[in-house]
Subunit: 617 residues, 2 copies
Amino acid sequence: MTGPLVPTAGASCRLRPVTTARIEGGLLAERRRVNGEAAIPSGPERLRTAGNLQNLRIAAGERSGELRGPVFMDSDVYKWLEAAAWEYARAPRPPLLAVQRAVTAMVAAAQRADGYLNSMVRERYRDLPWSHEHYCAGHLMQAAVAQSRATGDQALLEVAVRFADHLVATFGPGRTEDVDGHPVVEMGLVELYRETGRADYLELARWFVEARGHGLVERHGHEPTYFSDRVPVRDQQTVEGHAVRAVYLAAGAADVALETGDVGLLEALRRQFAHMLATKTYLTGGLGSRWEGESFGDPYELPPDRAYAETCAAVGGIQWAWRMLLATGDAAYADAAERMVLNGFLAGVSLAGTEYFYVNPLQLRAGAHPDENRSPAHGRRGWFDCACCPPNVMRTVASLGAYLATTDEDGIQLQMYAPSTVETGGVRLAVETEYPWDGVVRVRVLESPEREWTLSMRVPPWAQGAVLQGDGVEAGGYAQVRHAWRSGDVVELRLPMTVRVTTAGERIDAVRGCVALERGPLVYAVEHPAADDLAFAGVTGADFRPGLLGGVTVVGLSAWVRVPEERPWPYGPDGSARPGERAEVEAVPYFAWANRGIGPMRVWLPDGRRPDGVTGR
Amino acid sequence: MTGPLVPTAGASCRLRPVTTARIEGGLLAERRRVNGEAAIPSGPERLRTAGNLQNLRIAAGERSGELRGPVFMDSDVYKWLEAAAWEYARAPRPPLLAVQRAVTAMVAAAQRADGYLNSMVRERYRDLPWSHEHYCAGHLMQAAVAQSRATGDQALLEVAVRFADHLVATFGPGRTEDVDGHPVVEMGLVELYRETGRADYLELARWFVEARGHGLVERHGHEPTYFSDRVPVRDQQTVEGHAVRAVYLAAGAADVALETGDVGLLEALRRQFAHMLATKTYLTGGLGSRWEGESFGDPYELPPDRAYAETCAAVGGIQWAWRMLLATGDAAYADAAERMVLNGFLAGVSLAGTEYFYVNPLQLRAGAHPDENRSPAHGRRGWFDCACCPPNVMRTVASLGAYLATTDEDGIQLQMYAPSTVETGGVRLAVETEYPWDGVVRVRVLESPEREWTLSMRVPPWAQGAVLQGDGVEAGGYAQVRHAWRSGDVVELRLPMTVRVTTAGERIDAVRGCVALERGPLVYAVEHPAADDLAFAGVTGADFRPGLLGGVTVVGLSAWVRVPEERPWPYGPDGSARPGERAEVEAVPYFAWANRGIGPMRVWLPDGRRPDGVTGR
C-alpha cells in the first residue's frame, strides 16, 4: 500500500483509489528517490537538534530540561513517522524501520495512562484554539495508519487508538464541547475509523466538523475567521482565514461526507472548492495570499510577490481535491490536484530533497530583503523554527503514488501520468511516458481478466487537440476506451505540449497586463538577473535539457530588457520605462526555481507584445 | 504657539518654523474644528473605557485591579495630552484645561520617586525591544513640551524632566547600553532639550540614535530589521522594517542633526528619504506596504489593496519631512509633507473627526471581509485595541498650523496654503485662498517693517504653468518676490488645477496598466458599487460641491463598467472582461472616502483608453 485514504466498503465513493500504483521513473520517481534517500533519513537528526525528540523524553519523564519550540512540536515527529512509513512501502530498508520503531517507542513512552499525549501542553484543553492538541492527535493518527498499512507494525496504531478513545470519551455532545483551532484531527479520525472499523471515531470526526462555526473559538476570546470557525461548514460559501486550517478542515469534512454519504455536506464543499479555484488560487495552485494570518485573502487578492502559498496549504489542497475527486468522479478535481502537485507543492522542496520553502511566491525582486525566518529571499532552508512544512513535504512526496489512479465498477481511471505500474482487480497496466516533458502517454496492458472494462484517461482542460488512438478527444474530463482487454494491448494518448501564453482574469488586479507561460501541466518561471525589468515579447521554443536541473524542458522566450527610469518620485504623467534591448531568455518549470542560487524570479511577465509595444502595458 | 519643533538659536537650520501661524478657514480649519470640538473632548472617556487612566491609578497605588491593554497604554494618554495642549492654543477653553490638568495629575501620581514612569511594566528595562518604556517616555516629553508652550502649565514638564533625568542617569555609554524597540524618545529628548536647555537630553538622544544598528536588539534574541536596528542610522541606505518605528527614528535623528549640525547624519537621512520617496511611498504619501510586521516592503512593493499605510506612519512621515525641510530648505520635503498631510494622513480620520482608520489602503474590493480589528473593511472606527492612531491624529490635526510657513534671514516662505495669518518678525500676512479646491493664493501684507525681504511661495512640482503676479514660474521649488513691502501689498500666485491622469513607474508591478487621478495636491478615489470592474476612459471635468462631504471638488470621469467573466478557473489564453456599458462616475478626494458608508473603492483604475480599448490593459 503506497498512500493514505482508503475509503471503507460502505463509503459513498464514485471512485476508489488504487493504493498499489507504483511510480517507476521520471520526474516524480526522482523526487521520491531523494526524499527517501536523503530527506527522510535526515529527519531524526533534525528532530533531535530542534528538540522534538527531547520534548517527548521530557514528557515521558526520561529526561529533565526545558521544552523547546512551538506548541505543535509533536506533530513534526508524527509527520516524519508517516513519511518513513510510506517510504518503507517504496523501498523497505531495515535501518529506516529500526529508527521508525525507536521513534515510535519514544512517542509511546510519552503517552499518559488515559491515552492523552502531548509533550508541550501543561494544562489540557485549556486553550484549544491555540494549543494544537487535537492537531497533534490528528497527525499521530495519520502516521499510525500509515505505519500499519505500509509496515504492518501496530505499535503506533495502538498509541493512536488509545488517544482516540480518550478523545471520544472527552469530547462531543454532553461531554467537552470544544474544537481545536487547527483542524486535521477530522482526517485523522476518519482514517483511523477506516483502519479499525471503530464507528465512534467517525462520529467524533463528524461532530468536530459540525461543531465549527457556532462560536466555540470566540468563547475563548478569539476572532473566529482565522480558525475556520466563523461559519458552519455546511453554510460556508468560500475558503477564508488561515489557509492550512481551512483546507485541512475541508479535506476532513470531505472524508466525513465520503464515509457518511452526507450529500448536503459534500455539496457545501463542492461550492467552497469552486469558489477557491475561481477566486483564491494562484496559477501555480498555491493557496493563501496573505502573510498576515497565513490566510486566504479576499476574492481576487492574489499578489505574486507577497503570495504566501504555504507549502503545507498545497499539501492540504491536494488532500482536499483528491477526496472531492473520489466523492464526485469529476476530473476537474484531478486537474486541480495535478496543478498543485507539480507546481505549488513541488516548488516547496529542493531538487536535492533536503531544503524547503515555507512560502512560495510567484515573484521575487532583485535584492529582496529576507527579514524573517520564512522569507523566500533566503532561498530554501533545511528546517524552520516553525517546521510544519519539511516533514509535510516528506510524507506527501513519499505517498504521491496514491494519486495516480482510481477505479470504479466500470474500470480504471488514470488521473496523473508518470512512468508507473497500476495494479487493481486483476488488471496490471504499465504506463509509459515522459510526461510532463512529453505529451505521449502509452498504456500497456500487462494483465487483464477476460471481461470488458473501460480505461479512462484524464485529458486536462489545457489539452486542446488531444488525440486518443488516432481520434481527437475533448479537453477536460476523461477519454475512454471500453474493451475486452488482453495482455499486450496498448492505448496511446497524445496531449499537445504547446507552450501556452496565459493571462489572468481582469479582476486579478495584481497581474494586470502580464502573461505567464505554461506547458502541459507545468507553470514556468523566469530566473534572470534583470527579471524585474523584463517584458514578454514572444515564445521562441521549448527544449528538453537533460543536464539542467535534473532534466527539465525549458521554454525559450524573447523579452525586452527595459531600462527603468530612476525618478525621485515614481508617479507622473508617463510611467513607461524605456524599451531597452531585446534578450533571449529561458524559463524553467516553476517547481525547479531557486535551485541555482536565489535571485530575481517572475512567473508573470509584463506583456510587451502590443503594437505600441515595449512597455509591457 | 501652535505646534511642536522649535529649534534652538544655535541649531543648523536653513529655515525656521513660524509657530504662530494660524489656520483661519477652509478644509484644514474645519478638520481642526471637529478635532477640537468633538474628537479631543471625547478622548478622556475613551481613555477611561479602554483602561488607560485606570492603569495609571493602579500604578499610583490609588486603585487595585488588573492592568489592561497593550504595554504602551500610557502613550495614548500622553498623545491625548499633547493634542489637548495644541487645541488649547487654537481655542482656549477652561473645561478642556481642567481635564488636561486632572489627567496630568494622574500621570504625575504614577511617577516613581526616582523619575521612572510606566504603568504597565513590572520589571524595568528587562525587555526594551518590546516594552516601549522609552517610547512612552518620548511621548510624555512631547506632550509636556506642548503643554508648556501652549498653556504655560509646567506640571507635565516637571514630570518629563524627572523622567528624562532618570534616563540620563540610567542609559548611555558606561551605563545601561540599550535602546527601545520603538523609537520616539529621540524626538522627545531633543524637544525637551529645546524647552529646557538641558544639553544632556540632546546628548542622550544623540546616543540613542548612534547606538542603533550595533546588535543591541539582537542581544535580546530578536531579528533586528523590524526594530530599525539592523544597520547604523548613518550607514542605512533605505527605510525598512516597521514603518512607524523607522520614520520616528529618522525624524528623531533629523532633530539630532538639526541641533548638533551633524552633516554626515543629515546626508544619511537625505539619502534614506530619497530612497523612500522613489521606491516605497504610495501615491497618497502612505508609508509601509506590509501588514506583516506593519513594515516597509521591498522597493516597488506597493500593493494598493493590501497597503498598510498606517495612519501613524503618515504622522511620522510628516514629522520627518518637516525636519528635513528645516535642515535643508529643499522645497521637495514640503511637497512630500503636503502630500502626506492632505492624502495619506487626512484619510485616517472621518469628517466628523471621531472615527479613524488604522490602515489606509488604496483599494477596497466589494465584499472585502473584515477579519480583524484594524481591517479597513470595517470602515473607520472610534478606537482600537491598539489605539496608537486616534490620539496621534488628534495631536497632529491640532498642530497642523505649525506646517504652514517658515522663515530665514531673507524672508518668509509659505509652505502649505490655507486661509491663514502668518505673523513673524514684525511681518503680518493674510493668506487668502480656496486651496486645495482652487489654485489662486493671494497673500496680503497686513504689516511689515520698513526693509526689503523676500516672500517665497512654494510651487509644487505638479503645478506646471503656475503664474506669480502675471509671470510664469517654474514648478518645483519657490517662486520669490523681493520687495520693500508695505501694508496693503498683495501678491497672487495661480497654481493650475487641471485634473492630472497619473501613471506609476513600471517597477511598481501592482498597479501596472492603471491610472490615478490627481488635482492640485489631492489624490482622488472612486467609490462606486462597481469599482472592482471600472476601467478609466477619460476625465470629464471637475466641480466644487459645497454640500458634498463637507464641501469638496469632485472629478468627473467616464468609465467602462466591465462585465467580468465568471470562469471556474480564472486563467487562460484570454483574460479580458467584456467591455460593458459606459458610465459617468465621480471621484472624490481620497481623504474623504468611506464617509458615506464603506464599500468598493479604487485610487488606481485600469486604463481603458487604449485604441483596442475597453479591457483596461
